[in-house]
Symmetry: C2
Subunit: 385 residues, 2 copies
């Protein structure tokens, strides 16, 4: 079973489900398309307002109030995460500080600006928050003493719902760590979100109706059991999703939260995937996308391995790729050919995956041929487990 996406591969550029006139598209966003073709989102003006309303309501539920200021430490581009946080902050009447992330040297500059401006809250990915803390300490800045965050909320990675990671973030910054986020396609993506009780993500089902479905029988699972969240927009005109299969795994409960909200909850957050997708620095990556990219490059051999590790708190993706017999047999110029091949692979992977991957070339037949795709992925991280 696959994620039902917007179908943009067959009906470019916005797929079959745009549901508005093309000239009524107010904002274009998208995903870098790690499953193959990029997915484009076309969102109309009134939906943009609805996303702001929804996010403002939910941000209030975990404690943000007018008078707070929000530092947004994630990339402003296709990615709807940053924009969704900004919309909510503006609607709620916060001071927005959309600093962004991703360009060389930017985290170092962020340290200075956060220390000087003293924003009271943070949005980004858990791994970026921990990286920011590490860069700060390298500058003699203590994130707990010198920063001023009291609430930090997250999406894009499961970390903020993992007890050990939540604790680490809270101890590092002296702030409340709030887990949030469904899928970009299901935006307003904050309809899965913890309240200030931090008992797992509430499902704000009056905005996005969320069913918990058995991955085999496709029947609803009872409270206390594991299922796949399936999302239905109740309040979107453009690209509304009806029973969007997330392929995520979570356990749900109907026990009432101490906050009084009767929404269903995911006490352990979203902790797994049905398929072999993994997340590096907030980007969803499918092994098939790595494979597809490598196979399109002349000089690639036959097999590869992808190793994900965490160094200096940031995820690192390393690809070990076999080169071809043709290169192996070159009488001369082999070294130059290998260097070019590696550069080309790194360039293409960066584009397809949206994150940097370091490529290491290895001789033909280095790796065992396997029927099991998942053996190609070696995840050495512990943060998201």
């Amino acid at each position: 079973m696959h994620v039902h996406n917007t179908g943009s591969g067959l009906h470019p550029p916005f797929g079959r489900f745009l549901c508005i006139e093309r000239h009524d598209v107010f904002r274009i966003h998208g995903t870098s398309g790690t499953t193959g073709k990029p997915t484009a989102f076309g969102i109309c003006r009134s939906d943009w307002r609805r996303i702001a309303e929804a996010h403002a309501r939910i941000m209030w539920s975990f404690g943000l109030r007018p008078g707070d200021s929000l530092f947004i430490g994630s990339f402003f581009s296709l990615y709807l995460g940053s924009w969704g946080a900004l919309l909510g902050a503006e609607r709620l009447g916060l001071t927005s500080f959309p600093f962004g992330a991703g360009t060389p040297g930017q985290t170092l500059r962020a340290v200075t600006w956060i220390r000087d401006m003293q924003p009271t809250s943070f949005y980004g990915t858990p791994s970026y928050a921990l990286y920011l803390a590490e860069v700060a300490r390298g500058e003699g800045v203590d994130p707990r003493r010198d920063f001023s965050f009291h609430i930090m909320f997250f999406s894009g990675e499961p970390g903020a719902g993992v007890p050990s990671t939540k604790r680490l973030i809270e101890e590092t910054f002296g702030a409340e760590c709030i887990d949030g986020g469904s899928m970009a396609e299901a935006t307003p993506w904050l309809t899965n979100c913890e309240c200030d009780e931090k008992t797992g993500m509430h499902l704000w089902e009056d905005i996005v109706y969320t069913e918990m479905i058995d991955e085999n029988t496709h029947e609803p699972v009872p409270s206390g059991e594991e299922g796949v969240p399936v999302y239905t927009h109740l309040d979107r005109l453009s690209q509304p999703m009806i029973r969007l299969w997330s392929a995520d795994l979570a356990t749900w409960t109907d026990e009432t939260c101490a906050c009084g909200r009767t929404y269903p909850r995911l006490p352990n957050g979203i902790y797994g995937r049905q398929d072999d997708m993994f997340i590096v620095r907030g980007e969803n990556i499918y092994p098939s996308a790595i494979e597809g990219t490598l196979r399109g490059i002349e000089g690639f051999g036959e097999e590869f391995r992808a190793i994900i590790s965490r160094q200096r708190s940031m995820d690192e993706l390393r690809i070990q790729a076999e080169y071809s017999h043709a290169i192996a047999d070159m009488p001369d110029g082999k070294e130059m050919a290998l260097r070019r091949l590696r550069d080309e692979m790194e360039r293409r992977l960066r584009v397809t995956l949206g994150v940097r991957a370091e490529v290491e070339l290895v001789s033909p037949n280095t790796f065992e041929r396997s029927e099991f795709k998942s053996r190609r992925i070696i995840d050495e991280r512990t943060l998201s487990k």
Copy 2:
């Protein structure tokens, strides 16, 4: 004579002229602070709306209409350029495609997205547009044939007002090239902007009152003569600027434009600076900031040179810096010390300047000592001349 900035050095974080309560700051932006301390902008919600109104009016004047779509190819962070373009586009009812720029691999992804989404207009810097064209051609994509821009407007660099560069951009993309932009502090920064007649930038003086002042006598200069644009906000509540000295140089005229607007005009755009500031990839850089950064690093010798060149259509900044006699005299470990010194210099310069600078270390006493600061800067570009 110096640029009168917001005075944030003395009165952190927003300086003496915030003029609203701190909790009424709706958006925080700023400049990376190439003169020393970063400058922070605190803008209130109603000003944010005023900026949108002003930019929408002006974008209409050069031909953008509802139904158009705007690709924004500049960085979304502190920089007000990108946000100002976005605000105007939203208010005017365009389809906004805020793609951003600046992260590794992003321009290559931009090529695919522009080809697939066919946006009708572009905002960014002239040098970035030309770089985008070059990356496109490298992918076998012809910006004139495969892209769909009919209007491209620019700020951040003088290029779009330089006849040869304007022609190059128009021929490369088959689009109208519109010059715009005053200063971040004077936002709405688009009140200097060409209309669709492209006879030089109009000064929209009902929004920002702009005087042209003799740089020595400080008296107004008559039509046809060169002066310094001095900006006064007529419609800002937060950080309103009164007679902000731009330190730019331009010649103005009161001859009516064929469009019928009676606004004063700068027929040759902004073509020079009073001081030694130069622009690299849209960032304003003062030699004093380079000097200040280097002098703060142990191991720096005494002199440096900054060479600005244009390679693959992007500006490149190279710093040749002398290392200290202490390092020169090291019995061993010198190589390691030099490598560390270079890395530290590149890292610190990146943070202070906001753009990457490549550092080359040279022996002590390589350069002549000069009383004239400007001799330290070697500008090999031709695009902005």
